[in-house]
């Protein structure tokens, strides 16, 4: 734990410098369990940060949420760099933090950081990567809040409907569709129609959720130099019961999680980081039984026809009365579109388990890599990330 040389009784600190993104956060996640459990004040030090990645910020918030769930406080140290603060602002980090941690942002920062409240945006807000034609459009849309973090209260049907309407409206706006038409390899409107709709619909499936956050960002390729990191990322996190927990409960109560068997048989080559070099085949018509592992349940959640909606669990007021052919399609439609249509990938995270799905060849099996990270924080809720490659328009 990075405690900056402090002795016993000092606050526990998670320190970040330079660009705060998923890789830099993942490097620190082994410190996560101690950070969550430490009874002293937990400080997330962003003072040396220079840039932020929205999905990284969301992962940071999910960590802070776990700490809050354990009844412990969190404070953020804001960046010294004005541009970094501007990026944080533009990402709506303050609004999202307030909603996730249920505390006004003023009470989540140091007293001296209150001086940054209400400051004007720095004049130079175009970063070096945004000088292309499409970069200028991305930059403008980011300034208007089209990327970044969008938090929602989802403890009512009204809240869920509002989330769906707002996200669909954002991703089908004229400017967004024209931009994505240029940079995605396929029809841009399918981002709104399938990716966003099914991401949000999946959040609806998680019982006891009160807050959900949608995060998005886009990294355009440098002209003439396409790279693996040039992606559009859309992620959704909520604080409800995770996919694994809800399927496990259904399995325990009803004995099955399969509503019906569609005439589809996708194949998955599943590897585990614990067993490198080995892969096991699963077909999407496989049905997990009571002895299925958590990893298998997470994988099965992608299969068509697998759903928690067989259970009449009284805790879950969203359960319908009876199953049918309307259920268990969301993540299936999501991965088909993300991977087969856009050539991208999907990640699911619950607890300490992360599943990454993509496809090497159009006609081959889907590649599912499952990592169980024992030393990481126990992520509460479910984190779903979709990455779509973008191209030089």
């Amino acid at each position: 734990m990075s405690t900056s040389g402090a002795g016993p009784g000092a606050n526990s600190i998670l320190d970040f410098a330079d660009r705060v993104d998923i890789p830099s956060i993942e490097r620190r996640l082994p410190e996560g369990p101690a950070f969550i459990a430490d009874p002293m004040l937990g400080v997330v030090r962003l003072s040396a940060a220079t840039d932020f990645d929205s999905v990284g910020l969301l992962r940071l918030l999910s960590l802070a949420a776990s700490r809050r769930k354990a009844g412990r406080q969190v404070r953020f140290e804001l960046p010294r760099d004005p541009y970094a603060r501007h990026v944080l602002r533009r990402s709506r980090f303050a609004v999202a933090a307030e909603m996730v941690l249920r505390t006004p942002f003023r009470l989540l920062v140091r007293r001296e950081d209150l001086a940054y409240f209400g400051e004007e945006a720095p004049l130079q807000t175009v970063s070096s990567g945004e000088n292309s034609a499409l970069g200028s459009v991305v930059s403008y849309l980011a300034e208007q809040g089209h990327f970044g973090l969008s938090p929602y209260r989802v403890d009512s049907q009204k809240g869920l409907t509002r989330m769906l309407d707002k996200e669909v409206a954002c991703w089908r706006s004229y400017a967004m569709v024209e931009l994505l038409t240029k940079v995605l390899r396929e029809q841009a409107i399918d981002v709104s129609r399938v990716i966003v709709q099914e991401l949000v619909a999946n959040v609806v499936e998680h019982p006891l959720s009160s807050v959900a956050v949608i995060a998005s960002q886009i990294k355009l390729p440098v002209v003439g130099a396409q790279g693996a990191g040039d992606v559009l990322t859309i992620a959704a996190w909520d604080d409800g019961s995770s996919i694994i927990e809800t399927l496990r409960r259904c399995l325990n109560e009803v004995g099955s999680v399969r509503a019906w068997s569609p005439d589809v048989a996708d194949t998955f080559a599943v590897s585990r980081t614990a067993s490198p070099g080995r892969s096991v085949r699963y077909a999407s018509d496989w049905t997990p039984g009571p002895t299925a592992s958590d990893e298998e349940l997470l994988l099965a959640s992608l299969f068509p026809g697998i759903t928690r909606k067989l259970s009449r669990n009284s805790v879950d007021s969203l359960s319908p009365a009876a199953p049918g052919t309307d259920y268990g399609y969301g993540l299936f439609a999501l991965y088909k579109t993300a991977i087969d249509h856009f050539g991208g990938s999907v990640e699911l995270q619950c607890g300490r388990i992360m599943l990454r799905l993509d496809r090497a060849l159009e006609t081959g099996p889907y590649r599912a890599e499952i990592m169980t990270r024992e030393n990481f924080d126990l992520l509460s809720g479910t984190f779903v990330t979709v990455n779509l490659p973008v191209y030089d328009g």
Binding site: L88, F93, A94, T103, P104, F105, R106, L107, G118
Partner: protein, 363 residues
């Protein structure tokens, strides 16, 4: 009242008088039937009469004189004269104030003025009283300016007028209703303070074959943290001690009976609702019935909260209610003033220690 407010009576009156005076010389209205023209002017006059009704007397007198001009054929001032008003007839430009407090009953008004040490203002020329004060605030670099006023009449339907009058003279950042309410005996004690997260209006009814069915309306303060009240800990500050001292200093004949040695009111926020209707409670059964039927979080009932909330829609607002009775025939002596003082002192303590100003810059 319309959400987000309405045009001020003064501005509306000016606009109407313009048309009345201009219409006196109806160029372009030559084709108009004289009878229709006359009827139209009558409607315009009626509109003016209705909208100008609540203006300050001197302003109203000045503007009314233009009505005579409008009816005086070729005589009288032209519409341009509307722009030059004698001193004292134009309202002072509205002044921004951090906190505006509305009270209804005289006991509430007096308790609040005393709790804040407020003094009467001389700038507003109106029969509605305005008292001004300032309080320090931990979360604000400057002290908060406060104005306290009183409605002429109780009941939800009459909450709009004093607020409209307040807004003629002040631009409050937040408006707070302070006063007394009847409480649910299982949840609150006399003298406790309730700051509700939800307000229920229980008068709207649906006629059915089986009889009157109550269908309440709901509203809530716009800020989910109640401007910091969610995180305010009344017990961690001087509120309890202040109320204890206040009680001890009351003359014996004004001091209500309490069971314990010292008066220590509790403050209820977080998960509380208040129900609001036009009925003055006297039978003790309504609160329980409302809790059972609509919202088990109802802690108190009053007659003005909903009207206040609706008239404040689109702006920042809160409600502080001290519990003066349990809505039953047994009206305990001496609790009105004390409950009003509880609410007022609690508000003051909250403003000093827990309030996150509604207009404070976000990050």
């Amino acid at each position: 009242m319309m959400p987000g407010g309405e045009e001020s009576p003064h501005e509306a009156s000016l606009g109407l008088l313009y048309h009345l005076l201009r219409d006196k010389d109806p160029k372009g209205l030559d084709e108009l039937d004289p009878g229709e023209h006359a009827l139209r002017r009558l409607i315009l006059l009626a509109d003016y009469a209705w909208r100008s009704y609540d203006l300050a007397p001197s302003t109203k007198a000045h503007l009314d004189s233009f009505v005579i001009d409008a009816l005086a054929a070729d005589r009288g001032r032209p519409w341009r004269a509307l722009g030059s008003a004698p001193p004292g007839t134009k309202p002072v430009s509205t002044k921004t104030v951090d906190v505006a407090i509305l009270t209804i009953l005289l006991e509430e008004f007096e308790a609040t003025v005393t709790a804040f040490g407020a003094l009467p203002t001389t700038s507003a020329r109106t029969s509605q009283p305005f008292y001004e004060a300032s309080v320090s605030c931990e979360h604000s670099p400057e002290a908060l300016s406060v104005v306290i006023t009183k409605a002429a009449r109780p009941l939800n339907v009459h909450a709009a007028a004093p607020l409209a009058r307040l807004r003629e003279y002040y631009r409050p950042v937040i408006t707070i209703l302070v006063g007394i309410a009847a409480g649910h005996p299982g949840k609150v004690s006399l003298g406790d303070v309730v700051v509700p997260r939800n307000v229920l209006y229980y008068e709207p009814a649906r006629l059915t074959a089986t009889g009157l069915q109550l269908r309440p309306e709901h509203t809530a303060p716009p800020d989910p943290y109640l401007y910091g009240f969610d995180l305010y800990d009344a017990d961690a500050g001087p509120f309890g001690d202040r109320m204890g001292s206040h009680f001890a200093e009351l003359p014996i004949d004004r001091r209500p009976q309490i069971e314990s040695d010292a008066f220590q009111p509790a403050v209820h926020g977080a998960n509380t609702s208040i129900a609001s209707g036009e009925v003055v409670l006297r039978d003790g059964s309504l609160i329980g019935a409302l809790r059972d039927r609509f919202d088990e979080k109802i802690h108190a009932v009053d007659q003005e909260s909903y009207g206040f909330a609706e008239s404040s829609r689109g702006t920042s607002w809160l409600i502080f209610r001290g519990i003066s009775d349990y809505g039953d025939p047994d009206q305990p002596r001496g609790w009105k003033r004390l409950a009003a003082a509880s609410a007022a002192h609690c508000l003051r303590d909250f403003l000093e220690r827990g309030y996150l100003p509604a207009n404070s810059s976000g990050f």
